[in-house]
């Protein structure tokens, strides 16, 4: 955090206070999130890490106002989450790229701008900028299904960034990719993040991914979903493939792994 290349967070982008979420199911109530307090700084890259069922995806959706919390408040960019979504402060990308087959790559990226009511010429210009950012300019007129999974995910990221959102919410966007593609897109994601200065909340279950990308890793524990620990990652940016080989990276990875295992211990003891 002391190197000059590290983005210096100013102000708070996201603030959660006393957030809980209980889902009612036929077999009784399930507490997905329990009393979450979390501040995410402007320009930060925060990963939510934890085993399945720890509520990390639910937490992401609470931040994005796709799930309404049972209790507590969510503030994004100084306003309540519902207002932030209404004024289109969010860019979202999911594990499935979720592109529209009926639109070309360029028109997929234009979609959020179209929803927003941006004019044709500006839409096209912004989409072309985004295509350049994710290095897919030459595939602008392709159909999503003509692209590989990794390329589709890059289009989804471009689409999420097209509205120049204050907050980028990502739910395991690289989860379905093979290791090579995954590491490649991690580098791309860092490059894009540093180029745009967007605040990123990133859900993952991969320890190296969380450590490589994040300014801070938030480890969550399951049943009920709680924040177990918050671990700042003090590795300088830009992070490269060489970063992964450094002792500092491996120490950070080990540290996160220990915290995660501490979370898992109660449930896996005796296995």
């Amino acid at each position: 955090m002391t190197t000059p290349t590290t983005p210096t967070p100013t102000g708070t982008a996201i603030r959660l206070a006393g957030v809980s979420k209980t889902f009612s199911t036929s077999s009784g109530d399930v507490v997905a999130l329990d009393d979450i307090d979390l501040d995410i700084p402007e320009g930060g890259f925060v990963s939510l890490l934890g085993p399945s069922g720890c509520g990390k995806s639910t937490l992401l959706r609470v931040i994005g106002d796709l799930v309404t919390p049972t209790t507590g408040t969510v503030e994004v960019a100084g306003t309540i989450a519902a207002e932030a979504r209404r004024t289109r402060q969010y860019g979202m990308a999911f594990q499935a790229p979720g592109l529209m087959d009926w639109r070309t790559v360029r028109r997929n990226i234009e979609l959020p701008l179209q929803v927003q009511g941006v004019g044709r010429a500006e839409r096209r210009q912004r989409a072309d900028e985004m295509l350049e950012l994710v290095k897919l300019t030459q595939f602008a007129d392709h159909r999503p299904r003509q692209l590989s999974g990794g390329m589709q995910q890059r289009v989804a990221i471009a689409r999420a960034l097209a509205m120049q959102p204050r907050v980028l919410l990502m739910d395991e966007p690289l989860g379905a990719l093979d290791e090579m593609n995954r590491e490649h897109l991690q580098r791309e994601l860092l490059r894009i993040w540093r180029a745009t200065g967007t605040t990123v909340v990133f859900v993952t279950h991969s320890i190296p991914e969380a450590v490589f990308l994040s300014t801070e890793v938030v480890v969550m524990s399951p049943r009920p979903g709680r924040i177990a620990s918050r671990i700042p990652v003090d590795l300088p940016y830009p992070r490269t493939d060489e970063t992964r080989l450094t002792d500092e990276f491996q120490a950070a990875e080990r540290h996160v792994r220990e915290r995660l295992h501490a979370v898992l211990e109660p449930t896996t003891a005796g296995l």
């Binding site: 979202m92 979720g98 003509q146 490649h184 493939d241």
Partner: protein
């Protein structure tokens, strides 16, 4: 910056789809020729009476010699069929959008429509003839429109309701309105299903129009021609008219497939 940049290749579209189509059609063409030849052979060698089953050559002869009569009879029939398909598609899509707007009851309504589709719609032909006058094509168009509308509604509504959760969530995240979800996601997503319904409906509409014409009325139509020539035991002419009716159905099917290729280009994007 990095030593390892994985090479990402886009999935290539297979070239020469035309050749693929040809090789796909060839076996069917061969089979067709073999069947026609065997038919001809059975009739000639077996000495089958012409009123029971005319030889393909006799039918072909009738098609040629009766060409003017067949063509003029085909015109009102084709007009009724095309009008029915257009009206059925329009009504079907409209009804589907209305049904899909009420997601809570859509499934129930859909089940009722599908149930109605099980009834033989053509059986209503005499009733429609009585309502709309048997001499106009209106009664034929009405029955056929109904038989197009039902499969279009069933398929299109299913398509409209089947929104992928990721698409829905994405549109929600950008605060899209219900209308925007309909225009940008539901309708284009339902297009393939619409064409599935339209293909079924087109086949049914040809049947509906021809059968309606059996019940009399217009002096000149394929259905009338079929009924009259059969009544006069001129079966080569009956078969010739049936052949033209089949041709009509086939052309309609092909036309719909063609329109689908233009309207739903992404459907064939990966099938190559």
């Amino acid at each position: 910056m990095s030593a390892l940049v994985p090479v990402e290749r886009p999935v290539r579209l297979s070239r020469g789809r035309g050749r693929g189509l040809l090789s796909a059609l060839a076996p069917a063409a061969v089979l067709g020729v073999v069947l026609l030849l065997s038919w001809q052979l059975v009739v000639l060698v077996g000495g089958v009476q012409a009123y029971l089953l005319p030889a393909p050559s006799a039918i072909a002869q009738a098609v040629v010699s009766d060409a003017p009569a067949l063509l003029s009879a085909a015109r009102p029939t084709a007009t009724a069929v095309v009008l029915a398909v257009l009206a059925g598609a329009a009504l079907g899509v409209l009804a589907s959008v209305v049904i899909a707007m009420f997601e809570g009851v859509a499934r129930v309504v859909l089940a009722l429509v599908a149930l109605a589709g099980c009834a033989p719609i053509v059986a209503l032909a005499p009733i429609f003839n009585a309502w709309l006058g048997s001499t106009s094509i209106a009664s034929k168009v009405a029955v056929a429109t109904l038989s197009v509308t039902i499969p279009v509604v069933v398929n299109t509504t299913r398509g409209l309701l089947a929104v992928s959760p990721t698409h829905r969530e994405y549109m929600q995240s950008v605060s899209a309105s219900r209308r925007q979800l309909l225009v940008h996601v539901r309708l284009p997503g339902a297009l393939p299903a619409l064409f599935d319904g339209l293909r079924v409906g087109a086949t049914l509409s040809v049947i509906a129009v021809i059968v309606s014409e059996y019940f009399g009325g217009t002096s000149n139509a394929l259905g009338v021609l079929i009924a009259n020539t059969a009544a006069m035991s001129r079966f080569d002419q009956t078969w010739a008219a049936v052949f033209v009716a089949s041709l009509l159905g086939l052309s309609l099917y092909g036309l719909i497939a063609l329109v689908e290729r233009v309207a739903v280009p992404w459907r064939s994007a990966t099938s190559g």
